[in-house]
């Protein structure tokens, strides 16, 4: 994927949550957005996912302008999104959660949608839970279902907003493993505090603090960065 950002501003009241002058990223497959909490990472992801609107500037994703986009339908058909929690509709079963958009947005026949869903559930090892509802699943299983739902429609871009931060380490590991297995299915942008995972998973990073991009580059550079602010952050997160 290519991301080109120019004079990009997003404010909440008087506070500028994001203020990115220029950023050109080309040919990225998996991008990790890292940085301290409240720095604007999730806001950037939400703008790319059209959940939030930017105030001004330009953000082009694969040459598609996102700022000021009024017709989301075609754009969102290629985008999958996974939040930290509450991704699934609690009144629906796993199968219904995964196929609801296939049937009602993509107008796929129910039987076809169910067959496709079964293939995906088998792939991530949770087929036996297909008739369960949210309260019968573990946090890790629920996140894996959410990942399947995000990808099943053939999305070419998967947006992950701290998908493991609400999970205990064991369940987080399950989700990370699934993400690594499905990595080739789409381009991915992940907001995460799990730097060790990001190191294995992503091939590029951007470091955002107080709304500014302080640094970006191939993921390995994050761990050898000489900028004191970034190296201190990495040390703290990875307990070096």
């Amino acid at each position: 994927m290519d991301i080109i950002i120019n004079n990009f501003i997003k404010s909440f009241g008087k506070e500028k949550a994001l203020n990115i002058q220029q950023l050109n990223l080309e040919n990225i497959r998996t991008l990790a957005i890292v940085g301290p909490s409240g720095g604007g990472k999730s806001t950037l992801l939400k703008i790319i996912g059209t959940i939030e609107q930017a105030d001004s500037g330009s953000l082009k994703l694969n040459n598609k302008e996102i700022v000021g986009l009024s017709e989301y339908k075609d754009y969102l058909k290629g985008v999958g999104y996974v939040f930290q929690h509450d991704n699934l509709f609690p009144n629906l079963t796993v199968m219904e959660n995964i196929t609801i958009h296939l049937i009602h947005t993509y107008k796929m026949a129910k039987i076809e949608a169910y067959t496709l869903a079964e293939k995906w559930l088998l792939k991530v090892g949770i087929l036996e839970h297909k008739d369960k509802k949210l309260h019968q699943l573990s946090g890790g299983q629920a996140q894996r279902v959410a990942i399947v739902r995000a990808l099943i429609s053939g999305a070419h871009l998967l947006l992950l907003d701290e998908p493991t931060s609400a999970l205990d380490p064991e369940l987080a590991y399950e989700v990370m493993k699934t993400l690594i297995e499905l990595k080739q299915e789409a381009d991915i942008i992940i907001v995460t505090h799990e730097l060790n995972f990001a190191r294995k998973f992503a091939d590029y990073y951007i470091f955002i603090e107080q709304g500014h991009v302080l640094s970006h580059g191939p993921i390995e550079q994050l761990f050898s960065c000489t900028d004191t602010r970034i190296s201190t952050f990495v040390e703290k997160i990875t307990f070096k």
Binding site: G49, I51, K73, F83, N87, F89, N91, L92, H101, T105
Partner: protein
């Protein structure tokens, strides 16, 4: 074993009430139930009871319809409708129903040409109860996490699918037990319609009282009559609560 324990507890509670009743009766020499009068006016009493059930059911349907309108006002993107909802519910719930019945019947419903106390009374009761129902719907709607609404947007689900498949089922599950309790409140509130001479259970018992001058019998039957409706409703609400909680 649990069932035996439950049966024993129910028996204890029933005994406490029987003893309490026996004490009250023994301390009041005037307390007696006039069975002869009851037999003579059984048609009158049954008719009143039947009318209250009908009135309650009609008021339930009308108030649920009003409450749906009120609810859509609360979630509307137009501020004017939000303010209208707040003002309406504040006024309706801020004044006792008895006052509404008198003031609204004699001034408002008359002003719009409603002269029939049954129609006017049902309308006022429905408007009042619709605020309770709407507040319940509002609470259930607000309990749906914002993340779910974001997900509906991302999945580009049509609005009708969001409402039918996701929002309404969650709201119904969350509100059914409370709505049942509100319905019991509505049934009891129909008694106040006797103030404007709506023919219902209380009004018919008043008639029984004036014909027999046996107020104690009349009011005891009135209490028993309402309890035969509200107690099953309470059990139904309890059962629903457990059912939807599973």
């Amino acid at each position: 074993m649990d069932r035996w324990k439950q049966a024993r507890d129910i028996l204890i509670v029933v005994n406490i009430f029987v003893l309490l009743l026996a004490f009250v009766v023994s301390q009041n020499r005037d307390f007696y139930i006039n069975l002869e009068a009851l037999a003579r006016y059984s048609d009158l009493i049954t008719e009143g009871y039947r009318r209250t059930i009908w009135l309650s059911l009609v008021a339930l349907v009308v108030s649920l319809t009003f409450s749906a309108v009120l609810f859509f006002m609360t979630i509307s993107k137009y501020d004017a409708l939000n303010y209208l909802y707040i003002a309406f519910t504040q006024i309706m719930l801020g004044v006792p129903l008895m006052v509404h019945i008198i003031v609204l019947y004699f001034f408002l419903t008359s002003a719009i040409g409603i002269r029939d106390p049954i129609i006017g009374g049902t309308l006022i009761l429905s408007l009042y109860m619709s605020c309770y129902f709407a507040k319940t719907f509002e609470g259930a709607y607000n309990d749906i996490s914002p993340q779910q609404f974001k997900m509906m947007h991302i999945l580009q689900l049509p609005k009708s699918v969001c409402i039918k498949k996701i929002i309404l089922p969650q709201m119904i599950k969350a509100t059914l037990p409370t709505l049942t309790t509100h319905f019991a409140l509505l049934v009891k509130s129909t008694a106040l319609l006797s103030l404007i001479s709506v023919p219902e259970f209380t009004q018919y018992i008043n008639l029984f009282n004036s014909r027999t001058l046996d107020f104690v019998t009349g009011y005891v039957i009135l209490a028993i009559g309402y309890l035969t409706i509200t107690i099953p409703l309470s059990f139904f609400a309890y059962w629903l609560n457990r059912k939807v909680g599973d």
